[in-house]
Symmetry: C2
Subunit: 471 residues, 2 copies
């Protein structure tokens, strides 16, 4: 979804426009280029990233344009008439090749590349980074939270603590990462997600007593009644009242759906709640919990404390990706005027990979992902790959089968591959099932092998050598 | 600015709508209520929060409505025809009383209150929390970053790492918090902010050599030329080339504006850069740095290393509020059907303050903020205030002058007080100047006194007593 409408051209950093004018005025309007999107580190000290945001980026790039109003705004900011005329009719007409949304990906791989003029590839950079970095971060976080819940239902409750309108893309990314439903009606409307939610403490407080509050809610929603039991005293007031209403619903041929705990010790309270509900003859009433949850708290509740919880409502830490704020994705020039380009660095791990590239994924005998190899586009499946920074470390992959991970998704400015969030979620789930458990450990996971081909290694070495001779 | 347009009614949590229908169907459509917005903890282990987001919230609440399309979307989700007809013509008609945008505020104070029907106060909760929590977080972060820079220019470079469209409100909040300019053209366009930016590594890489890249940029922008000097080798290539171009600009009657360092050790490199520029007769060329900056790194660069830096470009950690993800602001019912209400809790620090309230701010002889007192609305200036949880701790404030912090900002659904981001920024700066330094320490600040009046204390005690008798 694109909330920016016809003003999306200015959803950019100012320097993209000053550079664009620079290219324009120095006769390089038609210079061709290739840029790569990649990240350098897995967030959350984890072992992988789920790639998300592609569908939104393609939609936003297709609609990327400058209205008359935007052009008039830019005029006094140092832009000249010829360039502004060019900008007024600007449309992105490049080609984008990318891994699929929902793909399991790793550091240093060129996940997406843009081939087009320098100007067009440059001025969409900011929006591309903004959306891919954020949606990939949240999809990755969501997959961890969902994994911790081990098949139990997880619902996104985060909109009130989301980073402003970022909550809209965050919910979409959370669904791609495996979350089951959301409280966010806006995102649900635009994407067809299942909505979920029941009552707040204010509902209970607004009545003179808790039992009346529960009864009134059950009257309106007899078949989807979830009662929040911690407004006053969970075990001495909330649960007894919920049980009373549960029995009353039974008498009228309905079933109380669930109770929700939103404070206190969720392990202690859920165990007592389960006992009280079971002893009252309400074993079917589910227990929902919320309050500062993330993958670690959920794992601890389930594994360490054996808490009998059925549904998790997860807010802040899911929807903002805490403790990470952003995926460190970058966008680097790899080709210009048909020449491979390099960003050199005093820090060798920040050296970029030159040339137009693709990714091979190698599978082992059980069909699990075994290693990824970055090659120059058009190279056959490499027989071995080299560690990108310690090329002495080489892996032979002669007898492995492989798949090419990248496909063309936009051609001449037109999107040719689309994926709904639900489709991307299914794909992500399938792909995660091919990633061995040791790469999914929440912390200190086994590092997945990503290497580069002999040809790419040689090309980079040659360019580094040429550059070093200059200083 | 309101990007949601006529679909803003669904920018909410689903349970707001189920509760609204519940009130509607149980004959409580006209029940009146009061809700408070407050937070419980200062973010960043700091000593204060800058209140921001008010202007955007008021605009979004004024436009809060449900289009036909939204109504048809909701119909199959469990809403009945009468309620949907009510929703179709829904408009917020309540009254909002709030501290000013840019105010320096503290935990537990009711910063904003909404008086209106239960339904209207309830269904705007999510958007209110979403925007106030986020903008206040970022404005607070920005004020810390700006304080660390000690009067030097700070520019927001964060859009590419912002949490999706959250970057739009984040830039606005950063300006309210004291940041000087932004790279975010979208936010600048909508709010009249100064834009800033120059060139990326890709500009330099796109030419066959760095010197040509610099010359071409200087040709296009002779009077606002900032050269990024770390694409290949900062001291051996970038700076010598920048100096060459700086001298060439001088010959043509222009001045090189600045160089930018974006990697490596910024203290080490800025000192060498300063020396090289000075020795080359270019003492006026400023030094801009960027790369993973926040208040701590800036303070360390300036205070510990004495780095000769003129301008800081701050990205991720400013625009996402790292290491905090969200201000923990909540929205609690304090009055319903003209009766004060309480959210009880097993954790006494989560007990809410009942009744319609306001805030007095006490000033000491030097005009510095000395303490805040929360009272029932209409109470005269209290002579003493009590710690909200340890009422034995009491402060006498007999001879202090005071101000009332809250004012009516929306009346019957119409905004009556507006503030541009620039006005809010000025107000914030003025107010921060009245906050003693010990409350502004980045960590372990002196805790600012916030107390409650005798009357409020008694009201709460009475309600707690009544509730406890029930269990």
């Amino acid at each position: 979804m694109n909330l920016l409408n016809n003003g999306s051209g200015i959803y950019t950093d100012y320097y993209q426009l000053t550079m664009a004018q620079g290219y324009f005025l120095t006769g390089r309007t038609d210079a061709v280029s290739c840029f790569d999107y990649f990240f350098r580190e897995n967030p959350f000290h984890g072992g992988y990233v789920l790639f998300a945001g592609l569908t939104d980026v393609l939609e936003m790039i297709e609609g990327f344009s400058f209205s008359d109003e935007m052009i008039e705004y830019l005029r006094p900011l140092g832009f000249n008439d010829d360039f502004l005329r060019y900008l007024r009719t600007f449309k992105f007409r490049g080609t984008i090749t990318s891994v699929r949304e929902g793909e399991v990906v790793f550091p240093l791989e060129p996940l997406l590349r843009i081939e087009g003029t320098l100007i067009e590839a440059q001025i969409v950079e900011t929006l591309l980074l903004n959306i891919l970095n954020f949606e990939s971060l949240i999809a990755t976080k969501a997959s961890r939270v969902k994994a911790a819940a081990g098949g139990r239902r997880v619902v996104d409750f985060g909109l009130r603590r989301a980073q402003g309108l970022g909550g809209i893309h965050a919910t979409k990314a959370a669904i791609i990462g495996g979350i089951d439903a959301t409280s966010n009606v806006f995102a649900a409307f635009h994407n067809g997600f299942e909505v979920s939610g029941t009552q707040a403490h204010s509902w209970v407080q607004s009545f003179n007593d808790e039992l009346t509050a529960f009864r009134k809610y059950a009257e309106v929603y007899p078949d989807r009644c979830i009662l929040l039991v911690d407004t006053y005293n969970t075990l001495r007031s909330g649960l007894p009242n919920a049980i009373t209403v549960g029995k009353e619903l039974e008498e009228r041929g309905h079933h109380l759906m669930a109770i929700r705990l939103d404070s206190g010790d969720l392990a202690y309270l859920s165990k007592h709640a389960r006992n009280m509900l079971d002893q009252a003859g309400l074993p079917y009433v589910k227990i929902t919990v919320s309050n500062q949850l993330d993958e670690y708290v959920i794992r601890s509740l389930l594994e360490d404390q054996g808490a009998p919880i059925d549904i998790f409502g997860v807010g802040t830490r899911l929807i903002t990706g805490q403790p990470a704020a952003a995926l460190d994705g970058v966008y680097k020039l790899s080709m210009c005027d048909r020449e491979p380009r390099l960003k050199f660095s005093e820090n060798y791990t920040k050296l970029t990979l030159p040339g137009v590239k693709t990714i091979y994924r190698f599978l082992n005998e059980e069909g699990l992902f075994s290693a990824d190899g970055v090659t120059l586009d058009g190279e056959p499946q490499p027989e071995s790959i080299f560690h990108p920074f310690f090329p002495e470390q080489r892996s032979s992959l002669k007898h492995c089968t492989s798949e090419v991970l990248m496909q063309k998704v936009m051609d001449g400015g037109r999107t040719i591959v689309k994926s709904s969030a639900q489709e991307s979620a299914q794909y992500a789930q399938k792909r995660l099932s091919h990633l061995a458990g040791e790469h999914k450990r929440f912390e200190f996971p086994h590092i997945y092998r990503v290497g580069i081909s002999q040809k790419l290694l040689s090309l980079r070495a040659k360019l580094v050598e040429e550059l070093q001779q200059k200083f």
